[in-house]
């Protein structure tokens, strides 16, 4: 029992470590310190955007209260903060704030009715556009509509819940550090699924402890650090870059050999963008071994053949020995002549 408690604590630590390592992208705790802007990208709208970011770019902002006739310092609501570092590294970094938000925001104080502003969704810009055809946004939309998340739309779920337009960047197909890419993608899920405050915004369900619900998984911490939640919880669709059909838990992958096999599903999901490198030095699914080692999926063809040869050779020698024993009717003389 004690061991079990210690194990859970250890795993919780590992997950928290992952979350905090990914906190460059998602900050679950209120962070009052401004993030150092390290991006080298210079937006054509940088100056224009700065009129928004001077308040929304960090937790603390200042404005002139004309009624009081003095400068006022205040804290920005965490949901209204757009960190420059994240934004200018994101997919939408070349946008001006007012490409998506109303020009009315240029007025300060902002008019109250802007809070009801209709937000764009992915297809409003990306749908039906040949430029983005290769990303199959329509197929993603279809898959999303079949996913468990879609039924939460009335509760406020949207593309943005996972893909924050101010920080999201294409990750898995560009990131050379797979572990980091896995952390980044899993942090998207954990943002709600390990944070009940966020979770409650969309669901009335009781708090789910993902460590407990995944307690059946051997080497849980290793799995959490080596694969994305998506690997088991989505239905792979060859057309789209990343599967978006998030399924109910009863349809999640639970059979070990879906991954731990020569025809590992990881090759169609996590390693999809590198899967051309099918074999390396005789290892099946060799690309997996750049970052991990998956028992059953990474068996080595040469070693397999060699072991088979040695085993058959051994049986062959034994067979020949038995043959001559039977032929010569040999009985062991060792003990007789003691």
């Amino acid at each position: 029992m004690k061991l079990n408690t210690a194990r859970i604590a250890l795993l919780a630590g590992a997950v928290l470590l992952n979350v905090s390592a990914a906190s460059g992208h998602f900050r679950f705790r209120s962070d009052t310190t401004a993030v150092q802007d390290t991006t080298k990208y210079v937006s054509p709208y940088a100056e224009q955007n700065e009129s928004c970011l001077k308040c929304h770019g960090q937790a603390r902002y200042e404005y002139t209260n004309e009624s009081l006739g003095r400068q006022v310092k205040a804290m920005m609501c965490s949901e209204r903060i757009v960190r420059r570092d994240e934004y200018y590294n994101s997919n939408h970094k070349s946008f001006s704030c007012t490409d998506c938000h109303s020009f009315e925001y240029e007025k300060f104080p902002h008019p109250g009715e802007l809070r009801m502003e209709q937000k764009l969704n992915c297809l409003d810009c990306h749908g039906g556009d040949e430029t983005y055809a290769r990303y199959h946004f329509e197929a993603i939309d279809t898959a999303y509509r079949e996913s468990v998340h879609f039924k939460l739309e009335e509760e406020g779920f949207s593309c943005w819940k996972c893909h924050d337009p101010h920080s999201y960047k294409i990750n898995i197909r560009n990131n050379e550090n797979l572990r980091e890419a896995i952390r980044y993608d899993n942090a998207i899920c954990l943002k709600c699924h390990s944070n009940y405050d966020q979770f409650q915004l969309l669901s009335d369900r009781e708090e789910i402890n993902i460590l407990n619900t995944h307690s059946w998984l051997p080497n849980q911490a290793s799995h959490f650090a080596s694969v994305r939640c998506l690997e088991c919880h989505t239905k792979v669709d060859e057309r789209m870059p990343v599967a978006h059909l998030i399924q109910t838990k009863d349809k999640a992958v639970k059979l070990c050999n879906e991954c731990h096999s020569q025809n590992s599903i990881l090759m169609a999901s996590l390693y999809k963008f590198q899967s051309k490198e099918q074999r390396r030095d005789g290892f099946f699914n060799g690309v997996i071994m750049n970052e991990s080692y998956v028992i059953g999926a990474n068996r080595n063809e040469y070693l397999n053949n060699l072991s088979l040869l040695i085993f058959l050779g051994t049986l062959g020698v034994i067979g020949v020995h038995v043959f001559f024993r039977l032929k010569k009717k040999v009985t062991h003389k060792s003990d007789k002549e003691e």
Binding site: P218, M289, N298, N300, S334, D335, K336
Partner: protein, 205 residues
């Protein structure tokens, strides 16, 4: 001749059963997608049984080492350099040719010499090289977080696993040869019986 005390026989039978469980479950994990084949068990079940058997094997191995340290049995595993290779060759020649010509056993079993040179050599390799390596690498795979991340740019897990399956494979081959050579007693079953009763049986007794 009473050769095998109770603790050795008990250790031996437990070890034998664990070897079979570990080989079947280990092969099952390695060839997991061929789960329709004979002796291949499902991955989840294989992992559970492999881990369970491995823990008992480790404890059993500690008992074996302790038993050999604190009893006279340990002396049976002392290899002397003198005539090492020639004794091995003599025994090999006996198995390959001598026994078919009706020659005498070059190293008859006595209380002080339970093993012939070939047995001694293969038992030392199996019990003092392969089993410790398979246990250590197995611990590395059971707790991947403690395994060295990379050695000269190659994943530590891959090296650990290759060491584990290679040692596991050699121990499997050892077991097949061991079982076969145990049919080379005065009767094909007499050595097996000896390991159950403790008495080494020969025809003239």
């Amino acid at each position: 001749m009473y050769l095998y005390p109770k603790w050795i026989r008990l250790w031996h039978v437990i070890n034998a059963v664990l070897f079979i469980v570990l080989i079947v479950t280990g092969v099952s994990m390695q060839y997991t997608d061929k789960d329709q084949a004979a002796l291949i068990v499902g991955f989840a079940k294989a992992v559970k049984w492999h881990n369970f058997a491995a823990v008992i094997l480790t404890v059993n191995y500690i008992i074996f080492v302790a038993g050999n340290l604190f009893t006279n049995n340990g002396r049976q595993y002392n290899i002397k350099r003198k005539n090492f290779v020639s004794d091995l060759m003599t025994q090999l020649k006996y198995y390959a040719f001598g026994m078919f010509k009706g020659e005498k056993h070059p190293f008859p079993v006595t209380e002080n010499r339970k093993f012939n040179p070939l047995q001694k050599f293969s038992y030392v390799l199996a019990m003092y090289v392969a089993v410790p390596l398979v246990i250590i690498s197995g611990i590395g795979l059971l707790f991947p977080e403690i395994t060295v991340k990379a050695v000269f740019g190659i994943s530590g897990l891959i090296l650990t696993d290759i060491l584990h399956i290679t040692m596991g494979f050699f121990l499997s081959v050892f077991m097949v040869i061991h079982i076969y050579t145990c049919t080379l007693g005065s009767k094909p079953t007499s050595l097996f019986r000896g390991m159950i009763t403790g008495y080494h049986v020969s025809d003239d007794h």
